[in-house]
Subunit: 345 residues, 2 copies
């Protein structure tokens, strides 16, 4: 491990941002100044979002390779921009590092961030590092480009609108359970034993947890199909929380159907193995980064025929509340996950 | 102290962002969605910068009231935008909180941020909070508006340009020394003793440390006087580091004169009391948030007559290096502060 002090602050930043090329015509000024400068074509609006990721709360380096962490940290920000129905174009990265991180580790993290940028056509326009007392802190700001008449806020859902979700849910949560289990096994072993985590056949779940993707393909498809969501949000905290956000912002109620929630068979198998309720995983698991959106009822036929889009329910008057209709026709009130319990120090 | 858990996550955010009004016509969508949306008039460019502030590294809550911390955290971001010769218009705030912070503490911090926003005409367009294992983490993103033909990068300085600085230097550092001394005295006392810090007559130094300002008045004056800096940076790490940034980015050398460095008499008195070299404080102390800029030699007469602007040296060919000329005509090579030493855990 190369001590960061050997490079000096200028040296570390220079090394991390060397050979970064700006690909987007909208990136006017990139890394190396007091601020980045962007400029979108006339008539376009600018979307900006920031995420703060803290070691021990948002990620566990025991089972998260730094390169994957960098990739995920960038992608979850892209996902917030996509959830506005906008295209991510630039990111700015600020990292706090405790002394247990060396130059190679920071490079690994940056390599993941840069891989994500390359995959999504996003420019890295600002990078900064600072010392930290405890662990790793990552703050990423994503800047995106929005056609004003395509904005999808949380607040536009109307009664009778359809509720749609992309992809499938609960897989990232099952991947996390799997990683946590292997961590426990690993920690209980003698140092000399050769540890091989039992992930065969479960790569999909691990990948959903460690390498999520932002569904930019979905917003592109909706655009091609001339479908404008009335409201949209990405599923970071779980379907239940996100539905409540839309209901709260739009002042409506929602009704979703258990048998309509899209769940991959691997997620279902794993839930069985862990003796967990798979619907709970989908409702409260989070980190799927799928898109949840509403659209006018008149678009039902069109939406039903779109690949990877699932109609899971409909919007109601606010007075009807927010409920899940189970397979046996019972109604269960949707609950917010609430403030995440503080881990004990 | 009200436990954050009693409000829930929705409740806390709702409480923090309640009654926030958007004042800037460019703020299209504020708090409460996946991202903020801004739109500047045709032809204007967008400036974006992020700062990460960590407890124990960037601030010490022993002597920093949370309201002041919020104010400062916002202002240092405004300062980065101002250093591009742009106007700050919006900020997004993300905060990580350990369990020792309650609702009242977060409100104090936000009250400082909102005071700064009101003072500078900046809209708070995004706010988020998350749990943290250790202490307080603040990440602020500032978005600003730039006239493309007024951008001042670090890279535009040319040999023979004048080097100018606003205000005075070293005061924030002396304020920090004063606070650190009182902290030591306080920690050495019995609990029962009545502690009154000895700050009388030194309020200016304390204020420079705890409540810095972004010199938006300076860029407005330069604009009125039709002066366009060839390069500009704000002094966060100390004059020496910032000069080296400009020299590095512009591929030039710099020569500054000790007797030209503006120092307030209170800074000088305090340095004497502490037996510290006041020039070292100005060169390496940092946190003054004054503007350092270069301008063509032909503007010398004009610049000399401007209030609060000081000509401290000139730009040279790169081969001449970066030097301070002392009062007795000796040349001292300017040193980078380098990577901040990691505090010991």
């Amino acid at each position: 491990m190369t001590d960061i002090a050997t490079l000096g602050e200028f040296g570390l930043i220079d090394r991390l941002i060397q050979d970064i090329e700006l690909m987007q015509p909208s990136s006017i000024l990139g890394c190396g100044d007091d601020a980045a400068v962007v400029s979108y074509p006339q008539g376009m609006q600018t979307v900006v979002t920031t995420d703060l990721l803290l070691e021990g709360v948002h990620f566990d380096l025991t089972y998260t390779p730094l390169k994957h962490l960098g990739y995920k940290a960038a992608v979850v920000n892209f996902s917030d921009v996509v959830a506005m129905n906008a295209k991510p174009r630039q990111i700015i990265v600020a990292i706090g590092l405790s002394s247990r991180f060396g130059v190679e580790q920071v490079e690994e993290l940056y390599s993941g961030i840069r891989t994500a940028c390359a995959a999504y056509g996003v420019d890295l326009v600002g990078g900064d590092t600072t010392a930290s007392l405890n662990g790793l802190t990552i703050s990423i700001t994503c800047i995106g480009e929005l056609e004003p008449d395509r904005i999808s806020k949380r607040s536009g859902a109307k009664p009778t609108d359809l509720i749609c979700v992309s992809g499938n849910l609960g897989a990232a949560y099952m991947g996390l359970q799997l990683l946590e289990r292997e961590k426990t096994v690993f920690e209980g072993m003698e140092r000399s034993e050769d540890f091989q985590p039992a992930f065969e056949g479960k790569e999909y779940l691990i990948e959903r947890q460690l390498k999520p993707e932002a569904r930019i393909d979905i917003i592109e498809m909706l655009r091609r199909e001339q479908i404008l969501p009335t409201s949209m949000i990405d599923i970071s905290d779980g379907l239940s929380s996100e539905l409540l956000h839309i209901a709260h912002s739009s002042q409506v109620g929602v009704r979703i159907y258990e048998d309509r929630i899209p769940i991959d068979y691997q997620t279902a198998l794993m839930a069985e193995e862990f003796n967990l309720n798979v619907v709970t995983a989908a409702l409260n698991g989070g980190e799927d980064y799928e898109l949840l959106f509403t659209a006018p009822l008149a678009l039902a036929d069109k939406l039903q025929n779109l690949q990877d889009i699932h109609l899971i329910g409909h919007v109601t008057e606010a007075s009807l509340g927010c409920a899940l209709v189970t397979r046996d026709q019972k109604e269960i009130t949707l609950q917010a996950q609430g403030w995440q319990a503080y881990p004990q120090r």
